[in-house]
C-alpha cells in the first residue's frame, strides 16, 4: 500500500508518499511544489500538475488523499485554491487514483488522538511516527504526510485503534502505549 497525501495551496503544494508494510511506515518521497511568481497563473497550475505527475510516475501510489477545504476564507482565495485543487483532482482521476478527502480535524484526531491538536503537535507526531527529521518550516510536507498517514491508520493497516471507537479521551501515556510504531528510537 502506497498512499500519496497532497496539501494543495495557492502558493505552494506539499506532497508526501508513504508505503506501509510489515516493517512499518516508509516515506518514499516528500516535498513542496513552489509556484514561481514570475509565471502566469495558468503556467503555475500546469507546473503543479506536471511536477506531481512526475512524482506519481516515479512512486506509483495506490491511492491519493486530500484535505477538505476550510471555507472561511474569501471568494477570491477559494477560487485560486479551487483551481490548484482542480488540477490535482484531474491528475488523480487521469491516473486512476482513488481519491479520499479528510477534514483537518479527522487527520489531527487520527495522528495525534486529539482533533484540536496544533499544527506543531501534528508535525511532531508525523515526524516521530515516520522517523523523519523535524523541520518546522515544512508544515506543507507534514500536512501532506499526515493525510497519507491518516488514510493508512483509518484503513486498519496501521496499528492504531480508530478514534471513533474510543468513548473517553485517553491519557497521553495510554495513547503512546497503544502506538508501538510511534516509539522514538
Amino acid at each position: 500500500m502506497v498512499v500519496l497525501g497532497i496539501d494543495p495551496g495557492s502558493i505552494c503544494t506539499g506532497y508526501g508518499l508513504i508505503r506501509k508494510d510489515r516493517d512499518g511506515f516508509h516515506v518514499l518521497d516528500s516535498g513542496v511544489i513552489r509556484m514561481s511568481r514570475r509565471k502566469s497563473h495558468a503556467e503555475r497550475i500546469g507546473q503543479v500538475y506536471r511536477e506531481l505527475e512526475t512524482v506519481i510516475d516515479a512512486c506509483r501510489p495506490t491511492c491519493a488523499v486530500l484535505e477538505t477545504v476550510f471555507l472561511s476564507r474569501n471568494v477570491q482565495s477559494a477560487l485560486k485554491l479551487g483551481q490548484v485543487r482542480g488540477a490535482v483532482i484531474a491528475l488523480c482521476a487521469n491516473r486512476g487514483l482513488e481519491l479520499t478527502e479528510y477534514a483537518p480535524r479527522e487527520v489531527k484526531a487520527a495522528v495525534t488522538g486529539r482533533g484540536a491538536a496544533s499544527k506543531e503537535q501534528v508535525a511532531g507526531m508525523v515526524n516521530r511516527m515516520l522517523q523523519v527529521a523535524e523541520n518546522p518550516e515544512t508544515y506543507d510536507v507534514t500536512d501532506a504526510l499526515g493525510l497519507a498517514l491518516c488514510y493508512i491508520l483509518k484503513s486498519g493497516n496501521g496499528s492504531v485503534p480508530s478514534q471513533r471507537t474510543t468513548g473517553k479521551r485517553k491519557s497521553w501515556a495510554q495513547f503512546v502505549e497503544s502506538r508501538p510504531d510511534m516509539i522514538v528510537h
Copy 2:
C-alpha cells in the same frame, strides 16, 4: 488560426472551436460536457479534463480562451467552479496552449458592440456571425463560441474594429454595416 473557447461551470462546461481563414469563420466543433450527477466530485473533474482533451486532440487549436470569473457568488461556488477551471487550465498548459482570459463585458463588447448586451443578444450575434442555427438552450455553447470569436476579433483577424478605439457608441445600422461577416444569408 483555430481558437478554442471554453466556458467552465460547476454543472456543465461549454466549448467551441472556431477556425478563421480568408473565407471567414468556421465552427469546427462545439458542445457541452455535462457532469454526471451520479459520479463523485473527483470523477466529474476528471471527466471534463478527458472529454476536453479528446476535443483538443481532434481539432488541434492554436490557443484557448476562458472567461474571467464573476466573483459575486459564494465561497462554496467559487471553490467548485475553481476546481473545474483548474482542470481546464492544467489541460491547456499540458497541451502547450496559450490561454487568454476575457471579462464577460469584453466579450459582449467585441461581439455585439455593447458591453451591457444581454445573453440572448450575444447568442443571437454569435449564431449570426458563425451562421449557426439558433438554439436558446445552448448558452453554454454560444458563450464558449463568443469567447473564441472575441479573441479572433481582438487579434485583428476578424473584420471588426476594436471597441476600444471607438470614441462614441455607434448606431446599430453603422455597427452592422461595419461587420460584413455578420450579414445573414
